[in-house]
């Protein structure tokens, strides 16, 4: 990111910042805030689950697991998450290595295209695969013969979830690879090791913490995933936790209690994952001394396998990214699901797009999503910046706790958060239910970890001297923060902001529980259109959403690069 990271941030690691009287306060405040955001609704959900008619009751737990054995569902959930993670790592890690380290042709383009699914809402991507590979009417099956591929059931779920998780794995691995000093590999090469040996003995061991973290993140997000299990699992009678929770929530008035019963084991799993992830991130610091500057060497030559490897990468890109997008585009022109042919081409029209822009519901969904995404991103990054500054710069006791608390929402599946918030606000004396504020609370809770992470990454790259110099120049705390810290951390904060905007634009699982008519967001609008069977509208809406998101991200990235270049010119 920035190049002035070469100055060691703090010599002794934790120096109480001399001129601030109570540095504990902000850290305590954010711990309390996150605690409140997460624990209050969760506590209420538990209470609804276990208390009934004024007494402790296991009625809902018993009822919940009478439907389907806990063991079976837990097993399916784990199988789904582990399978998707394994496949995503298998694709994402080599892809990252090829892009960052080797002379793969067109690697920048490959990277840009491979990251595209990040901006596409998961529900849209899943629906695109249903259009492609539903056993009867799927486009692939109508071209290649019925029954060639079947997207419903566990196998389809794993593949689609994995494809959608690859960009995340790719991003995390590429970042770790970039910060890896190439001279570590080059010295192994000069020591006489072959390229495969270098990868196996040097690169992979150094990357291990980052790879483990990527696997854990992808595992947790698969466990929490709602769109794939609901759209591909339920029709194939493959049930995981999230699908059951969603099903339970459809039931009134005691659906929330039932959902709570299903949520408990899921929460236990994701919490375990998050705790592991937090301890991993802490331990990873010992590796940073090794990686440090990340001097860039020459890309490693792939030699004769250069073009075959490129062909393989292209095949992946074609299947996982181009094909679903083409399917959406095609469907958007068709009155009903039909394979490309002379007849269907004759029926092609742009009416679907007219419907999108004529519909007040979809326009409102656009407005709601944009509003919520920018508000959530701004809030989380602002909180993150202040907290990260204190936690990086001051040796405040208890910042571990603040760090850990900040990880908490990661372990909270969107559906569970939605259910918990619903349980809380439906009974609260005054309520924000029925307003966008409730959705905003949910979004801020969900995305606070990302705001904190990116902000603290940006802050820890700033040398302490740059701030000390401002103090010595007579600048007050606020002047220093505003005129030195913010401009320098700006590119990093902006990157975090873009990330939260992208995630918020895709958000479905909490929104679908919490929205009231009038507050549909994009993913919910797509979901509803699909449930209504208006495939053409789904296709058109999907294309528009993808294009808008892409344009937003591109614009933000350009801004970010220009801003970043201006700031991060190398020192000396």
């Amino acid at each position: 990111m920035s190049d002035y990271a070469t100055v060691p941030a703090v010599s002794d690691g934790r120096r109480p910042f001399a001129s601030i009287a109570h540095p504990q306060l902000p850290v305590a405040a954010v711990t309390a805030l996150v605690g409140f955001l997460v624990l209050t609704p969760l506590g209420y959900l538990l209470w609804r689950t276990f208390f009934d008619d004024g007494g402790v009751s296991l009625r809902y737990v018993r009822e919940a697991y009478a439907v389907d054995g806990l063991g079976g569902m837990a097993w399916t959930s784990l199988l789904f998450a582990a399978g998707a993670t394994a496949l995503a790592m298998l694709i994402g890690v080599p892809l990252a290595w090829l892009i960052v380290r080797t002379d793969l042709p067109l690697r920048r383009t490959v990277l840009a295209v491979a990251l595209l699914p990040l901006v596409v809402p998961g529900v849209l991507y899943t629906i695109a695969w249903i259009f492609l590979a539903s056993p009867n009417a799927g486009l692939i099956n109508s071209v290649a013969g019925a029954g060639t591929v079947d997207v419903f059931g566990l196998r389809g779920m794993i593949v689609v979830e994995a494809f959608h998780a690859v960009p995340l794995v790719l991003l995390l691995t590429a970042a770790a690879l970039r910060s890896l000093d190439t001279s570590l590999e080059e010295s192994a090469l000069t020591a006489g090791a072959s390229l495969p040996t270098v990868v196996r003995r040097i690169t992979l061991p150094l990357l291990r913490p980052a790879l483990l973290a990527a696997a854990l993140v992808s595992m947790i997000s698969a466990l929490e995933s709602f769109d794939v299990p609901a759209l591909l699992g339920i029709p194939g009678d493959t049930w995981v936790f999230t699908a059951r929770i969603f099903q339970a929530l459809q039931r009134f008035p005691d659906g929330i209690a039932l959902a709570g019963a299903y949520a408990l084991p899921l929460l236990a799993l994701t919490c375990a994952g998050a705790v592991l992830l937090a301890s991993l991130t802490r331990r990873r610091r010992s590796y940073e001394t090794v990686t440090g500057r990340g001097a860039r060497g020459r890309p490693l030559p792939l030699g004769r396998s250069r073009w075959p490897v490129f062909a393989a990468v292209s095949l992946y890109v074609a299947i996982a990214i181009v094909l679903p997008m083409l399917a959406l585009g095609w469907i958007s022109t068709q009155p009903y699901l039909a394979a490309p042919s002379g007849d269907s081409l004759g029926r092609a029209s742009l009416d679907g797009y007219r419907d999108v822009f004529d519909s007040s519901v979809t326009l409102r969904a656009f407005r709601n999503s944009l509003l919520l995404a920018t508000a959530a991103a701004t809030t989380t990054v602002a909180i993150g910046a202040v907290v990260a500054w204190f936690s990086v710069r001051s040796g405040v006791r208890g910042r571990r706790l603040a760090d850990a608390t900040a990880f908490l929402p990661l372990a909270l599946p969107g559906l569970v958060l939605g259910a918990a918030l619903l349980a809380f606000w439906l009974r609260a004396p005054w309520t924000i239910y029925g307003t966008l504020w409730l959705l905003l609370v949910a979004y801020v809770t969900r995305f606070l970890p990302y705001g904190l992470r990116t902000a603290s990454a940006a802050m820890s790259q700033l040398g302490q001297d740059l701030e000390d110099a401002a103090h010595m120049s007579g600048a007050s705390w606020w002047q220093t923060f505003r005129r030195v810290v913010l401009p320098l951390a700006g590119p990093g904060l902006l990157a975090g902001w873009i990330m939260v905007v992208v995630f918020a634009m895709r958000e479905l699982s909490a929104s679908i529980v919490l929205y009231a008519p009038g507050q549909e967001v994009l993913a919910v609008a797509i979901w509803n259109e699909f449930q209504n069977g208006s495939f053409r509208s789904v296709g058109a809406l999907g294309v528009v959403v993808s294009v808008v998101s892409l344009v937003l991200v591109l614009a933000a990235t350009l801004l970010f690069q220009r801003f970043g270049r201006q700031v991060s010119r190398a020192r000396g």
Partner: protein, 369 residues
């Protein structure tokens, strides 16, 4: 001008407290440059940061111009941004998002509104100080375009623009390469003397300290081991540590045979007697005698039966401006440095060692630490 009294600073470590500065007192007079010299980890930077206000000491007092900036007993701590001192950081800490001008102007425009100079004065003052460090023509450039030496000048200009009462320099030359460092050393001295700005200079480089300072404080383990003028610290080190750290030296342990009233003592060592400078040592005391290599003269052994120091040349090294010899005397090795024109002596040759009069100094006796 600057008074530091009984300063103590402890850091909380994982295994209890670490005392970084352990009861340090010194004063710096108006317009003088005071160096804090010592190996890494001796507490010199922490001490400087305490003076700057970037660290809060645990005990002691700091005053500038009679104004108390910190007093543990008085419960007074003026924060760094109110002390109106100038500081040059080891990393320069040039703000990469500002231009050269912007960096230097920052201290002026950060002032409280009523004390902020008008725009015209800001640019005049920035221009003047940039002129002084010879960066005037680069004012509009992004600060990150500057070379290492130029960034160093920029950091200096930024520290000087407010005409601070006290200038603090934290190893300002250590990130420069050798040639540039020598150049900047002279430049720094010229500026400091011209502006007569009172300065505290932290360094681990004895040459820098000797060349720049009016006074040197040698630090070790959080304490000041010796404070004195450069010449005194060099020629009359107070301890084995100072002798070893400030320049290379030969150390001989011995016993005082006769303490002369003329400021000299005769010391008997295992290899012969020495006449060493000393103020107050009683006969019979165990002492350490310091002899600088350039004060050891080698002569080809005439074997005239004269009592004296004899040895065998072990190695010689040609340094360009001087020649070094290592001579084995009994079981110790003595280093000698002489002018090139004196020629070199082949290893294995018997030589006689002569110590220049007044060049031997008695350092402290029992160097327990």
């Amino acid at each position: 001008m600057l008074e530091v009294e009984g300063l103590v600073k402890t850091f909380e470590g994982r295994h209890g407290g670490v005392v970084a500065v352990d009861g340090v007192s010194f004063t710096v007079e108006e317009g003088r440059l005071f160096s804090l010299l010592g190996p890494s980890g001796c507490g010199k930077t922490t001490l400087l940061r305490c003076v700057a206000g970037l660290e809060r000491p645990d005990a002691g007092r700091i005053a500038v111009d009679g104004v108390t900036l910190f007093s543990a007993t008085g419960g007074r701590f003026v924060p760094a941004n109110r002390r109106e001192l100038g500081m040059v950081f080891q990393s320069y800490a040039i703000w990469p998002h500002l231009s050269v001008f912007g960096n230097v102007a920052f201290p002026l425009v950060s002032r409280p509104r009523r004390r902020r100079p008008p725009k015209r004065e800001v640019s005049a003052r920035v221009g003047r100080v940039l002129e002084a460090v010879q960066l005037a023509e680069l004012a509009g450039r992004p600060a990150t375009d500057l070379s290492g030496g130029q960034q160093q000048r920029l950091a200096l200009a930024r520290a000087l623009v407010t005409e601070p009462r006290l200038l603090l320099l934290d190893e300002p030359l250590s990130s420069l390469d050798l040639q540039l460092r020598e150049e900047m050393r002279l430049e720094l001295k010229r500026l400091q003397r011209e502006l007569r700005v009172t300065s505290v200079y932290v360094t681990h480089d004895q040459l820098e300290a000797l060349a720049l300072s009016n006074m040197i404080g040698v630090m070790r383990g959080g304490r000041l081991e010796q404070v004195g003028r450069p010449r005194d610290v060099y020629t009359r080190p107070a301890s084995r540590f100072v002798a070893g750290f400030v320049g290379s030296s030969n150390l001989f342990e011995g016993v005082v045979e006769a303490g002369g009233g003329d400021g000299h003592a005769v010391v008997r060592t295992a290899h012969g007697t020495l006449r060493a400078r000393s103020e107050t040592v009683a006969p019979g005391a165990a002492v350490l005698v310091v002899v600088r290599p350039e004060h050891v003269v080698l002569e080809l052994d005439a074997d005239d039966g004269d009592e004296g120091w004899r040895g065998v040349v072990v190695t010689r090294a040609y340094l360009g401006s001087a020649v070094d010899h290592v001579v084995a005397v009994g079981d110790v090795e003595v280093r000698s440095r002489g002018p090139v024109r004196a020629g070199t002596i082949r290893p294995g040759t018997q030589v006689r060692l002569r110590f220049e009069p007044g060049a031997c100094t008695v350092a402290e006796a029992d160097d327990a630490r």
